[in-house]
């Protein structure tokens, strides 16, 4: 297997998760990590070059692929600089909060002829992939309804909320992508209700912590997403696709599949605590898929257009909640596919 030399921009939580996965991944060499704020004393170890300056990576001709794990406002710039330097890019979601900025970025990627994959890791989760297979194989017939329950175990701090772009662009964005992934259809209209029920500070920051989002899809199906920033019992990630021939459901996963029956009742374990635990394997699988498409010169499984559409839908949901009307999702297709050959 041809080894691909890689660098990571951003050494925060997700950057370290990806970095650790790369260090164990055959056919990949993690050469450098750049982050202006990380101290690098403990991580990633002596085999990897570290520094504050992104040029440590963007200016290194040996580095063929870049993982962008820095804060959202830097994503688009870094994608463009990496693409212009001829590097393939894996970028965490969202590419940007402004669709026009994303479109410009995707044009740059197209012109450079490099791959761009966006970090919608849930598509690589084996449970959701099996639901998708049930849909694709026709096991549940034509899709009528998709229902997603997506709840975090704990609310983020209010200052994070203020810079996150809001719940629909920060959290529901994954669910929008899941609806598109499972249905193979586009979201054409959105209505969102929101409420502040978990933490009034989230409301003070101009956001909501509880939401119900209704979607119309291009294939005529309907979808609904339930979100909460705080489920005390753990990360609640359930999906159901209902169709003319049945339904396929993804249930929560627990660290141990046990049933404890006592005089008090029947008990099982809480779901895996949060996304790092629940989606651990998918973080590895998405990078393996990215490096495979770089190596084999094939289309990335989650491309720039997927990154764009989820943001377009997230903005429509944000607007819908503000004006309390259903909002049509702009149908203007991007010219770019972000690296599709």
């Amino acid at each position: 297997m041809k080894t691909i030399t890689t660098g990571i921009l951003g050494a925060g939580r997700i950057g370290q998760v990806h970095g650790n996965n790369l260090l164990r991944m055959p056919g990949v060499r993690l050469k450098a990590v750049a982050d202006p704020f990380a101290d690098f004393k403990e991580w990633p170890g002596v085999s990897v070059a570290t520094g504050e300056d992104p040029d440590l990576i963007l200016g290194d001709d040996e580095i063929q692929a870049v993982l962008i794990c820095s804060p959202t406002p830097t994503h688009a710039d870094f994608i463009e600089r990496a693409a212009e330097a001829g590097k393939h890019v894996f970028c965490e979601k969202p590419i940007d909060l402004e669709p026009d900025r994303i479109r410009r970025t995707l044009d740059t990627v197209d012109r450079a002829g490099v791959k761009l994959q966006v970090g919608f890791n849930r598509r690589f989760d084996s449970t959701f992939a099996r639901v998708k297979k049930a849909v694709d194989d026709g096991e549940i017939g034509a899709i009528h309804l998709i229902r997603i329950t997506s709840r975090d175990p704990e609310a983020p701090p209010a200052d994070y909320v203020a810079s996150s772009g809001g719940i629909f662009l920060d959290m529901t964005i994954h669910d929008f992508d899941m609806v598109r992934f499972l249905s193979g259809a586009e979201i054409v209209e959105v209505h969102a209700y929101g409420a502040v029920l978990v933490d009034p500070k989230i409301g003070d920051a101009g956001d909501v912590d509880t939401a119900m989002t209704t979607l119309r899809l291009s294939n005529g199906a309907l979808a609904v997403i339930e979100n909460s920033r705080q489920a005390v019992y753990g990360y609640d990630q359930r999906v159901e696709v209902f169709g003319s021939a049945g339904s396929a459901e993804a249930l929560n996963e627990a660290p141990a599949q046990i049933r404890l029956s006592t005089a008090d009742g029947v008990r099982s374990e809480n779901p895996l605590y949060f996304f790092l635990e629940r989606y651990q394997a998918s973080f590895v699988a998405e990078l393996e898929a990215f490096f495979a498409c770089v190596r084999d010169d094939t289309a990335p499984p989650v491309d720039g257009r997927d990154g764009l559409m989820s943001v377009v839908v997230g903005r429509a949901a944000t607007r819908s909640r503000a004006v309390n009307r259903p909002v049509t999702v702009e149908s203007r297709a991007t010219r770019s596919t972000g690296g599709k050959p």
């Binding site: 409420a195 705080q230 209902f242 009307r325």
Partner: protein
């Protein structure tokens, strides 16, 4: 003797179900069944002493203390009026009426005459939903944030029924509106409904929809969601979940049996119930027992015409939301609407 003499009006699907349940309830004496299309042999086999094709006979019998109205929906209001005039306590199938006006009128009439009026929102007597309600009421999940109802029928109704039914929201979703109110303990303030014809184009041709998603705002600030389909091939799909600040409570689907079979090609569980009658068998008995206890003990009924009114108001709002593709507040829903007529699309 500690029993109540009952007359039943209507002997269609739901009327027969109530008759069979009443015969089995020790505190009930089902004296009479009246229906213009009465199946004598069936009524006789059940041992109902008086059988009539004239519904007036029920009201004229002074021994009958309580009537169960299971005639077609369009006759409910008239029959309730006559029962009130005759001084009889009333159990009436939902939706009572498609319009809020007649329901309000009936509430006043029944209150004035001092008769009890219970409405057939049977789910309020389902043991699982009662237990969920109890958990919520006792603070078990903290403050309520969201309520979810998944309600899907195993077999679409025939098209004649669809035409008469008032449409999905009035015939089917009314139960779910009531369940949202029951579990949340709050009123529906506003809702947004989307609907499609995905099951059977004839349902669309009859002016109705067969698939819907309704999101709702409640008076306590919580949100709710209902998803409906007229056709779930795997059986009667009835799932409920309330989510709150300290946890969630969920009611899963029930089955006739609980058998797991594991084979080379997968793990199989028993099928879900195949009809609402089977799924809510205990609830249908318990709602009549509850009604008769209220009659005997002079206690208020567990689910009354006010609840029917709230559900019908929500159905009107949903109908209008679907037509205008926008959220509708319940207090604006009634402005220009004509319910039931001409379908909901």
């Amino acid at each position: 003797m500690n029993h109540t003499t009952v007359g039943l009006i209507g002997a269609g699907r739901i009327g027969r179900l109530h008759a069979e349940n009443l015969v089995g309830i020790p505190e009930a004496h089902l004296k009479m069944v009246a229906s213009p299309h009465l199946d004598e042999a069936w009524a006789q086999a059940l041992g109902i002493p008086v059988r009539s094709t004239d519904v007036g006979a029920v009201f004229d019998d002074p021994e009958i203390e309580a009537v169960v109205i299971a005639a077609s929906s369009d006759r409910h209001v008239e029959l309730i009026r006559r029962a009130v005039e005759a001084g009889k306590h009333i159990f009436c199938e939902k939706p009572v009426a498609f319009e809020p006006g007649p329901i309000e009128e009936i509430i006043a009439l029944a209150a004035g005459a001092g008769v009890l009026l219970q409405v057939g929102y049977n789910r309020r007597f389902d043991p699982s939903l009662v237990a969920a309600h109890h958990e919520i009421d006792g603070g078990g999940i903290g403050e309520i944030h969201t309520v979810r109802v998944t309600s899907r029928d195993p077999i679409p109704p025939d098209i004649d029924f669809v035409r008469r039914s008032g449409g999905l929201f009035f015939d089917f979703t009314v139960h779910d509106f009531d369940t949202v109110r029951f579990l949340s303990g709050a009123e529906i303030v506003e809702l947004f409904a989307v609907g499609e014809v995905l099951v059977d184009p004839r349902i669309g041709a009859a002016g109705d929809i067969d698939t819907a998603v309704i999101t709702l705002r409640l008076s306590n600030g919580a949100l709710a969601v209902i998803d409906n389909s007229r056709h779930a091939v795997y059986g009667q799909d009835q799932r409920f979940e309330a989510f709150g600040s300290s946890g969630s409570v969920a009611v899963d689907n029930l089955r006739a049996t609980y058998v797991t079979t594991s084979k080379r090609d997968g793990v199989f569980s028993s099928r879900l119930h195949g009809s609402f009658g089977d799924r809510y068998r205990e609830a249908f008995v318990a709602e009549l027992s509850g009604f008769l206890s209220s009659v005997r003990e002079g206690r208020p009924v567990a689910v009354g015409a006010e609840d029917a009114l709230a559900a019908v108001r929500a159905a009107h709002a949903a109908k209008r939301s679907l037509a205008e593709n926008r959220p509708i507040r319940l207090d604006e829903a009634m402005a220009t609407d004509t319910a039931g007529e001409g379908g909901i699309r």
